[in-house]
Subunit: 572 residues, 2 copies
C-alpha cells in the first residue's frame, strides 16, 4: 500500500479554493506561477513516495537510540534526510540570500504535509530547522545569519527549539535556565530542557539549539527571558564545526509514537551561546518560530490523516466481507454504508483541514508580500485554528482508519495504528490545542472581532453569491456562519477571560467546521456543482457542518457551571 | 496514583438512577438487597484496588509470550487470576446450581467494570469465561453442564470464543472450519481461528474453546454453522483434564495495546469437540454469549474510562503550571478552565455510559426474573448502545486523559497512553461499533419502534414531571427526546436498510446522548437539584447533550450522498 502524493489535489486547492493567484500576483512571489509550483510539488511528491515513505515503519520498529551519549537514528533515516537536504526541501521558503528558494509558505505547507504523510518522525527534523531559520532571519545579527543560515537552509546543519523545562511547559515563564555573559559577547547557558524534538542526530554536521534562558538581570516570568543560539559544535574561524560545546543528551523518552524522532532531555552546562534578538526579548523571537511551527504542526496532522486515509482506503478496497449491499459495487467492504461513511468523513475532513492550513499559509504569504495588516491579522487568526483542527483531524482520521481495518487495525503489523500513535503528540506540542484555543478567544479577539468578522463576511458573501445555483449547499453555510457570528459576539462580551476559556476548544472547532463548509462550497462552485469535490461538499455540509450547533452551545456555556463542580466533586 | 473503586457511585446509581429496587423486588433476586450488593461491591472493589491494579503496567511492559507452543502470561497475572477465582468473581451471576452466586447482572456489570479499570488485559479472561458459562447454561446438555460449569464458574478452567477466521470477521457466515462426526457422539473439529482472546494461559487447568464450525451437511452462510465445545485437555472419566486435544496456539498477535492478554491464532486439527445446542443452530447459541459479552465489553470501555479519568485527575491535582485563574483554587492545572472542562466532560460521559450499561443490566435481570417481553425488548435495544457508547467513551475519555497530561501524556511511563491503547480494541471486538449500530437500526427496530418509543416515553414522562422544579434541565432533555423520536420515525420509514445504515453510527451515539441526559436528570431529581450529581447533570445537559442535533442531522442524511461518491472519487 504505497503512499501517493496528492499533488493534483493541492493544485485544485491552489487554483480554486485558497486563491494562490493572489500570491503569484505579487512582485515578491511572481515566479511562483502555477507551472512552477506544480513542478515543485511533483518533484517533492516523488521524493516522498519513493524515498521517505519506505522509512516510516523503520522509525517505529527501530526507534532512535542513545548509545554512550550519542544518538543513533533509525535505519535509513540518514539516506532519507540526505534526500530531503539534497533536494533543497529543508526550507524552500527561506530567503534566497542564504540559499533558500524564497517560495511561498503555501508551497512549503504542501511540501511539509507530503513529507509528514510519508514519514512523520523524520519530517519533524526539517520542520524544527524551518522554525529556527525563520527566527534567525527575523532576529539574529548579520554575522550570525551569514554563518548559520546557509548551513541550516542547505540542511548541512539542523536546528532545535529548547523551551520546556520540567516545571515550565505551557507556562514558559517559569523556566529556570540561566545565561551569564562571558565578557566576549557570548553567554554561558546552563539548565536542563525536556521534550527536545530531534535534540541530536547522526546525520547533520551540527545541531543548533535555540534555548530560552534568563540573564542575571532578567525579571521573573516571560519578560525576563532571552533567546540564545547554542550549537552542539562551536564553529571555528572558517565557520566549520569546531570544539564540542558543553551540552549533552541526558536521555531519550520512551513515547507512545513517533519513535523515529529522538525526544531528548538536554543538559546545558555553561554551554557557549549567542544572544538572538534583544536581551529579555526572547519571547518575541520564540513566537516567530512558534507561529511558523504551529502551522507546520497543523500540516503534520493533515499529512498523517492523508497517510492514514490512503492506507484505510486501500485496505477497504481489498477486503471482502459479507454480501455487497449495492448493485455493481466493488465487492469489498468499501461498498458497506458505514465503511463508506467513515472513508468519506475522513476525506471530507482532510479537505477542510487542508484548506484552512493553505488559506493560513496564503495569508502569511500575502502579509510577507504586501505588508498588509489585514493579511497579518487573518494569518494570526487562522494559525491556531490550522494547528488545532489539523492535528485533531490527524487524530480522528487515523482513529477512524483503525476502525476501517476492523480487527487488523489493532494489529501493529498493518501500520494503521502507527499513524494514530505518531500523530497523537501533535495536539500537544508547540502549544497544546487547549493553548491554541485560548490564544484564539483571547489574543486573536483583541481586535474587537475584526479578523473573525472579516472571515465571516467573506463566508457569507460567497454563500450569498452561490445561493441561487446551490441553495442546498450555500444556505446551511450562511446559517452556520450567522450562528458562529453570534458566538463571536458572545465571546467579545465576556471581559472575564475565563468565561471564554471555558468554551474555547469547542469554539475553535466550530470555527473550523464553518470554515470547512466555506471551502467545500468554494470547491463546489469551482466545479459548477458537479464533480468529486461537489459531492464531497454535499456530504460535508449535510453531515459534518451541523456539528457546529452542539459545539457552539458548548462554547458559550460560560465558566459558572464548570467551577460549580469543586475538585472534591470531581473526585467523588 | 492508585485506583479507587467507585463503590459509592454504583450505590447511588443503583438506588436513584437505574432502580435496582425493581430487581431486588423480584423473587429471583430477593436476596440482592442494598446491604448485600454494597458488601459485594466493596469486597470486589478492594480486590481490584489492591491486587489487580498493581498488575496493569506489568501486562503492558511484559506481554504474554508464546514459548515452544506454550503461552507464558505477564508477571503477577497468575496471582491476580487466583484472586479473581478465589474471590468467586469469575461469574457471580452464574446459576447457584453450578457454584455461582446467582447475583443480578447489574452487580456483575459493576464488578466487571472495576476489574476492567484495574487491569483490563487480565479482566478479559474471566469476561470470556462468563460468556461461555451463559452459552452452556442455555444450550448445553445436562451432562456437559455438570462436567464443565462448576469448573468454569470456580475459575479452575477458563473459556474462549472461537468465531473469526481470516476471511470471516464481521461476516461470520463465511467461515470454513469443519466438524465431522466421530461416530461416538463427538466431532472432529478442523480449522484455523484468529483473534482468539486468551486463547491459552498458564494459570487455569484447562482452556475450553467454543468453536463455530460447519458440519458436512451444513449449508453455506450462517444457517449451516454449529457450535462445539473443544477443550484443550479432554476430560478423563473423573472430569479432570486428561490427554491433550489436537489443537495448538500458532502465534500471538503484536497489538497496539492489551499486551497482557494473549491474542492467539488457534489451529484445530481434528480436535475432539462436543456439539452445543442443535446442529446448524450455532448462531443462536453464539448470540447468547455475544449478547452477554457485548454488555461486558461496554463495561470494559467504561472501566478504562474510569481508570483514565482517575489517573488524569490525580495528575492535574499535582501539576502546577501558570497563574491560577480563580481565587481560592487548588493552585494546580485543575483550576484552568480548559483542563476543568476536560475533566468534567470525562466524568459526565462516564456517568452517562455507566448509567446506560447498568440500565441494560437491570433490564436483563428483570427479563430473567419476570420473563417479561418488554424487559427483553428493552435489554435487546440497550445492548448495542451500551457496547458502542461504553467503548467510545473509553476511547474518548482516555484520549482526553492523555491531553490533560500535556507532554507527559505522550510518555509511556506515565501510563496515560496505555489506557487509550488498551481500550481501543473494545470498539472492534465482539462486533465492531459499526455492526452494533446496524443491529440497532435494523434488528432492534423490527418491532416497529416499540422498544425505542417505550424508552422515549419514559424519558419524556420523567422530563415532564421534572419540568416544574428543574426547567433548565428537564426542558432540553424533553426536546432532545422529541428530536430523537423524529429520527426514529425516519429510520422506520426507510424500507431499504442501507438508508438506515448510512447514518446508523451517529444515530446510536445520539440515542446514547439523549439517554445520558435522561439519567443525569434522574440523578439531579434524586438530589433535589443540589449536589455533585446535579452539577454534573447541568454540565452534561448544557454542553454535551446538544451534540445530538448534529448527530441526528448526520443520522438521517440517507445513503444517496454517500454512494454519490464513487470509489474512484474517494481515491482521486
Amino acid at each position: 500500500m504505497p503512499y501517493r502524493a496528492p499533488v493534483e489535489e493541492y493544485r485544485f486547492l491552489f487554483d480554486h479554493v485558497v486563491r494562490m493567484d493572489q500570491v503569484s500576483g505579487t512582485d515578491r512571489f511572481a515566479e511562483a506561477t502555477p507551472d512552477m509550483t506544480s513542478a515543485i510539488l511533483s518533484e517533492a511528491g516523488r521524493m516522498c513516495e519513493e524515498v521517505l515513505y519506505p522509512l516510516q515503519r523503520n522509525g517505529d520498529l527501530h526507534p532512535a537510540r542513545l548509545e554512550n551519549g550519542v544518538v543513533r537514528t533509525s535505519p535509513g533515516f540518514t539516506d532519507g534526510y540526505r534526500a530531503i537536504a539534497d533536494g533543497g526541501w529543508v526550507s524552500i521558503s527561506a530567503d534566497p540570500e542564504h540559499g533558500g528558494m524564497g517560495l511561498p509558505m503555501a508551497v512549503t505547507t504542501a511540501v511539509n504535509e507530503m513529507m509528514a504523510a510519508a514519514c512523520l518522525s523524520l519530517q519533524l527534523n526539517p520542520l524544527m530547522t524551518q522554525g529556527q531559520i525563520e527566527a534567525l532571519e527575523h532576529h539574529a545579527s548579520d554575522e550570525i545569519k551569514a554563518l548559520y543560515l546557509p548551513k541550516l537552509v542547505s540542511g548541512e546543519w539542523s536546528g532545535t527549539m529548547n523551551l520546556t523545562e520540567a516545571q515550565a511547559g505551557s507556562d514558559v515563564g517559569a523556566l529556570r535556565s540561566k545565561a551569564e555573559p562571558n565578557g566576549d559577547g557570548t553567554y554561558a547557558v546552563t539548565g536542563q530542557k525536556i521534550y527536545i524534538s530531534w535534540g541530536d542526530n547522526d546525520f547533520t554536521g551540527n545541531v543548533c539549539h535555540l534555548v530560552l534562558a534568563r540573564l542575571p538581570d532578567g525579571v521573573e516570568g516571560t519578560k525576563g527571558i532571552s533567546l540564545f543560539l547554542v550549537p552542539k559544535y562551536i564553529p571555528d574561524t572558517e565557520g566549520n564545526p569546531g570544539v564540542a560545546n558543553s551540552l549533552n543528551v541526558v536521555s531519550l523518552e520512551h513515547k507512545l509514537g513517533l519513535h523515529g524522532s529522538p525526544t531528548a532531555v538536554m543538559q546545558f552546562d555553561g554551554a557557549t551561546g549567542w544572544l538572538i534578538g534583544h536581551e529579555h526579548d526572547g519571547m518575541r523571537a520564540m513566537f516567530t518560530m512558534m507561529n511558523n511551527a504551529r502551522l507546520g504542526v497543523g500540516g503534520q496532522g493533515i499529512g498523517a490523516a492523508e497517510g492514514a486515509y490512503q492506507h484505510a482506503l486501500a485496505y477497504a478496497l481489498e477486503r471482502k466481507q459479507g454480501r455487497g449491499p449495492v448493485e455493481g459495487g466493488t465487492g469489498t467492504i468499501a461498498d458497506h454504508a458505514d465503511v463508506r461513511r467513515m472513508l468519506t468523513t475522513m476525506k471530507a475532513d482532510i479537505f477542510a483541514a487542508r484548506s484552512i492550513a493553505l488559506a493560513c499559509a496564503v495569508a502569511i504569504d500575502m502579509q510577507n508580500a504586501t505588508g498588509g495588516d489585514d493579511w497579518a491579522a487573518r494569518a494570526a487568526f487562522l494559525t491556531p485554528i490550522a494547528k488545532a483542527f489539523g492535528t485533531e483531524t490527524g487524530i480522528e482520521v487515523s482513529n477512524m482508519g483503525i476502525q476501517v481495518h476492523g480487527g487488523m487495525g489493532f494489529i501493529e503489523e498493518t501500520g494503521a495504528a502507527q499513524y494514530n500513535r505518531d500523530v497523537r503528540v501533535t495536539a500537544i506540542y508547540e502549544g497544546t490545542n487547549g493553548i491554541q484555543s485560548m490564544d484564539l478567544v483571547a489574543r486573536k479577539l483583541m481586535d474587537g472581532g475584526e479578523a473573525a468578522n472579516a472571515l465571516l463576511d467573506e463566508i457569507e458573501a460567497q454563500a450569498e453569491t452561490a445561493r441561487h445555483d446551490f441553495p442546498e449547499l450555500a444556505e446551511p453555510v450562511w446559517q452556520a456562519s450567522e450562528t458562529l457570528r453570534e458566538a463571536v459576539e458572545w465571546m467579545l462580551e465576556q471581559s472575564d477571560m475565563n468565561q471564554r476559556f471555558a468554551g474555547s476548544v469547542p469554539f475553535l472547532k466550530a470555527f473550523a467546521r464553518v470554515l470547512g463548509g466555506h471551502f467545500h462550497l468554494s470547491a463546489a462552485i469551482a466545479e459548477k456543482g458537479s464533480g468529486p469535490h461537489s459531492k464531497l461538499a454535499r456530504f460535508y455540509i449535510e453531515r459534518l457542518l451541523p456539528e457546529h450547533m452542539g459545539l457552539l452551545a458548548h462554547a458559550t456555556a460560560g465558566a459558572e457551571d464548570l467551577y460549580a463542580l469543586s475538585v472534591e466533586d470531581l473526585g467523588a
